[in-house]
Symmetry: C2
Subunit: 705 residues, 2 copies
Amino acid sequence: MVESLILGFGLASLAAAWLFSMRVQSVSVEKGASSPEEAERLNKIAKAIRDGAMAFLFREYKTLAIFIFVFALVIGFLIDDPATTEVREGLYSSVAFVVGAVTSILAGFIGMRTATAGNVRTAVSARESLEKGFVTAINAGAVMGFGLSGLAVLGMLGCYMALDNVLKGQEAHTIMEILSGFGLGGSSVALFARVGGGIYTKAADVGADLVGKVEAGIPEDDPRNPAVIADNVGDNVGDVAGMGADLFGSVAESTCAAMVIGAIAFKGQPSALLYPLAISCLGIPSSFIGILAFKAKTEEQVQGALKNMLILATVLMAIMSYFLTMYLLPTTPFTLGTRTGVTAQGVYLAFLSGLVSGYLIGWLTEYFTSHAYGPTREVAKSSETGTATNIIYGLALGYNSAVIPSLLIAATVVIAVSQAGMYGIALSAIGMLGTISVALTIDAYGPVADNAGGLAEMAHMGADIRKRTDILDAAGNTTAAMGKGFAIGSAALTALALFSAYVTQCQMDSIDLLNPWVMAGLLVGGALTCAFSAMTMRSVGLAALAMIEEVRRQFRSIPGLMEGTAEAEYAKCVDIATQASLREMLRPGLMVVFTPILIGWLFGQEMLAGLLIGALVTAVIFAISMANSGGSWDNAKKYIESGAHGGRGTEAHKAAVVGDTVGDPFKDTSGPALNILIKLMAIISLVFAPFVHNMGGVLVKMLQH
Amino acid sequence: MVESLILGFGLASLAAAWLFSMRVQSVSVEKGASSPEEAERLNKIAKAIRDGAMAFLFREYKTLAIFIFVFALVIGFLIDDPATTEVREGLYSSVAFVVGAVTSILAGFIGMRTATAGNVRTAVSARESLEKGFVTAINAGAVMGFGLSGLAVLGMLGCYMALDNVLKGQEAHTIMEILSGFGLGGSSVALFARVGGGIYTKAADVGADLVGKVEAGIPEDDPRNPAVIADNVGDNVGDVAGMGADLFGSVAESTCAAMVIGAIAFKGQPSALLYPLAISCLGIPSSFIGILAFKAKTEEQVQGALKNMLILATVLMAIMSYFLTMYLLPTTPFTLGTRTGVTAQGVYLAFLSGLVSGYLIGWLTEYFTSHAYGPTREVAKSSETGTATNIIYGLALGYNSAVIPSLLIAATVVIAVSQAGMYGIALSAIGMLGTISVALTIDAYGPVADNAGGLAEMAHMGADIRKRTDILDAAGNTTAAMGKGFAIGSAALTALALFSAYVTQCQMDSIDLLNPWVMAGLLVGGALTCAFSAMTMRSVGLAALAMIEEVRRQFRSIPGLMEGTAEAEYAKCVDIATQASLREMLRPGLMVVFTPILIGWLFGQEMLAGLLIGALVTAVIFAISMANSGGSWDNAKKYIESGAHGGRGTEAHKAAVVGDTVGDPFKDTSGPALNILIKLMAIISLVFAPFVHNMGGVLVKMLQH
């Protein structure tokens, strides 16, 4: 019964994605362009971006395939213990892992295809009217939003039903344990998409800006710049593929965590067992209604429409989920792990606390990063006294902006656990991710609108069109900042949920802070956050350097490039950025993947628990402050460019430009990459919990003997 | 017996301070100067600095007096519970609190008097030879080093003996509990000296630089700059008074924590009971020998001499403390709290782990911040591509530099606890602070040498003398960075020791990470670190602004100032910086003092425990990364100024100057202030433990009903 419901929603989500995709495809570039020449130019550039994006994806998939193959073997080998269990957990987990990874890849691929088809169509739609442009960009984003939700739900349901069939008669918690491999698969793809993609996007951006704008003195999005296509590809790689894989991971992981924790309590009650998956599905109709309900006809309405979509979807979700919870969960108080007397209302409250605090974190992000409010205006003003004060105030703003979100997460934890124990945390994470379809739609809208602007510029569509795409783009920037806050908050709760599931799996009744190994774990977790941040920041620098050299080489060696008579070798730049980003993500990636396994194996499950929490607490404040410092620097610069504090060309503007450049790796690479750090380490700990529990702590045991 | 030993060492330390002070006084400015006019000029400027320093101190004392009075009442009122205890704990604690505060003030006062007498004498000694200058500066620093150690030891011993006498027949742990008020007193002074002083020193520095160097175009240390005296005063306020009060607090707090934890185990065994105090005393002879053993005749020898002093003292301390431990502690295994089978050797190992890791953290700090090594050279190189890359690489260096110190602290915790339980952590903190006399000597040497350079410049003593003082100053800069690393490491262990004592006092057997209140506490602790950092960074900005306005006003309204015919109103600048710094420290100060009491009262002892650890884990990485980013930017600039990457006047140099300015509040205000955050919150929790334990968690209880 509940399976059919989930199946129905999953298929409906895919249908919605298909519908939105058709609406995007229905816009004809040839008909929308002012002349066949313009259409040809547009198609040519759009093809270059699409080819570049596909080149990145396929190169990434090649590396990813090796990683998935090796890691599937590791999972099969380390978790499987034929001597003691009758189920080949390792084997099944590694299959679930591969399915999770492939599903995430598929979702990302669909999103990227549509985004790179939607950008040029948004540009031509904008010629007709602002409203048309808005609708096309939103439709393109919605393909990602609904395609991903649908695939995530169907993937998990399919995996569960297959396992349930094959492992007939097994305990529900064994099945759920194996299912968490699915989450690990999704998260592994996120490692490549978020970290590798984050390095790619900023290397391309910095490379294009530094040589193009500063050295060669040509404007942004100028087709003579060899890195311009890579830069546009980067927007998609970062905000479509990266964000998508990140949130796919969060949804899969938090749902798996909830089902692992609930498996023992709800065995034999399929409707309660699959409740976490079912409630996730409600985001699909809520988001659908939200997106269709608002249009934007004028400049003022664009940002409002995006925000209203999110608000309406949140409210609908809050209402619908109450009834579903009452319907699926037992009506009498039940026991969850060590918690007795949990009620369906309590579980709903836990869910709601996540949903609400996710919305508030998004709103706070906007408050701190938009130049409509005090904080970013203060950063803009501080640029008047020079670069140093701009940097100091921007950093201080970032630290400050992390305070209330941390408190909100703390409050959510207290509410969730007091209502429903560990299960409550997982539910609060699912709640925060409830509106993922609309959130992702808005997020993917950003690079589509941004690319549309680039296309309008490169294809010389005229200042009118460029102005319209700029309006669409500006609204996307603000909502992108909100999306980041939301991604971090949900990553924190997801990591906590996975941590809870890990603890449940390791049969730990308590994790004592007075145990020196736990305390040491906390400190090592903090150290990991630092090491990871430092690595990713330097990675951007090194990858950007490779780009800069290539762009310089082309300007030097291609005759007629500056004059516009010869064409730049765009593909070469795309290739360099792709290679550099995948090379540079290797070290941080390996650190994230193997540290939990090593620490657990050498020092035991307690230290690993401490490590997860230490990394979480520090990564939350690092990630939020980095994202918001970066967002604020960006908008402070835009505020000055709009005429404040003297406008362009002043010393204040120069200072703000430096701040914006510092903020780039902060907000688009290091900050978001920390989401992956905490989630991936937590799910690896969960999947390898049987190994750590049985074989962990070898060094400690040796020392004690 | 053990009391006489401690008394003897304490008095010997004061005698050593007096001896060093006599040696400083024996240098005659009149005889050392090249002419009576030069002597007059020197004396006049030195007097201005001394008067400025005293003006700051007395203004600070006034505010401090109010704070001490109010807080003594709070302590007396909240801790005292006549209904349930026969001892008026609150009353005695508040007396111990006042004694601790007054002792710390006295130590700081002595240090400041000597430092501001030593600067001018170092300048005239430098005329004779580099060696003479070095010796005079070291002697001046040693007055602080030994005066502070002696007063700390005697203060704690005196308090203990008085309490032991008055409260005859009481349990040792009641006495030790009351004694921890002494530590709180010391730490409260540190709040004002470190946070207020940190804001003062950077406000004066930035104010002097921005208007003087940049706007008016006059060189550093030019007497026409109205802020020049305030800038020189600031060096003393930050590195003598601030660092001194910080370390006084650490010594007093870690010793109190050790004695509180050991009180139950060692009751009736005074030698074991006072062992923590006795072992601290060994640093006095070790440091004395270390300081006298090395001289510096040439430029190359200066830095080596400073480092060798520290190494020799560390080695001597390690050897002597082994024998004292064997002598004072029981020879058969004993029980400490929940730990059985603790041996004297185990306690020694805990002590040693702190001593060694303190040395290693200092060394790592040097590795990351000195331009003799790769990391800072990379920051210097990154300046070639502009300010943004300089900032990004500097921040990444800071994050990176926090990794190994965190691991070292984690290793120390594991060794200490596995050897001697909670007591071991306190002992490791005492170990790290073992060489405090020599560490403080080297630290206070820095501003004395720096001031000597300023005096040589302002009194026109000639380029030769200035070159010698520059050599002395440069060595001081490197050791100052080491001192910062050491201060942070010891603050972390001290805070952990206090946390252990707090947990012991609250009778908590375990602190469960799975308890949502503990988890919420961790997150709130992280938020506090962020809030505190943001506040202190903005405070510097605001205080500097007040300074800038005053300096501009003087240049505008005093005729003949730029021409050198009229004199600037130095005292006015000193006054403005003093007022602004004390005003700006109010908010962060109140937050630090009242948050633990409020959280404990409203949410209970578990959440407070989580909060202390959350703040600790995040503050360690924030403090280390801020201090090292700042130190590295400073030295990268110096490296470029020495001719690398094109030297002065290049774009690289300009970028490095911006980095250095960003680093100023990082390394001298926000970073060191975090030491106070974690220690002060921990000792407040310890002192208010009876209140929190008995009356805490009112809100939680209300919610549950």
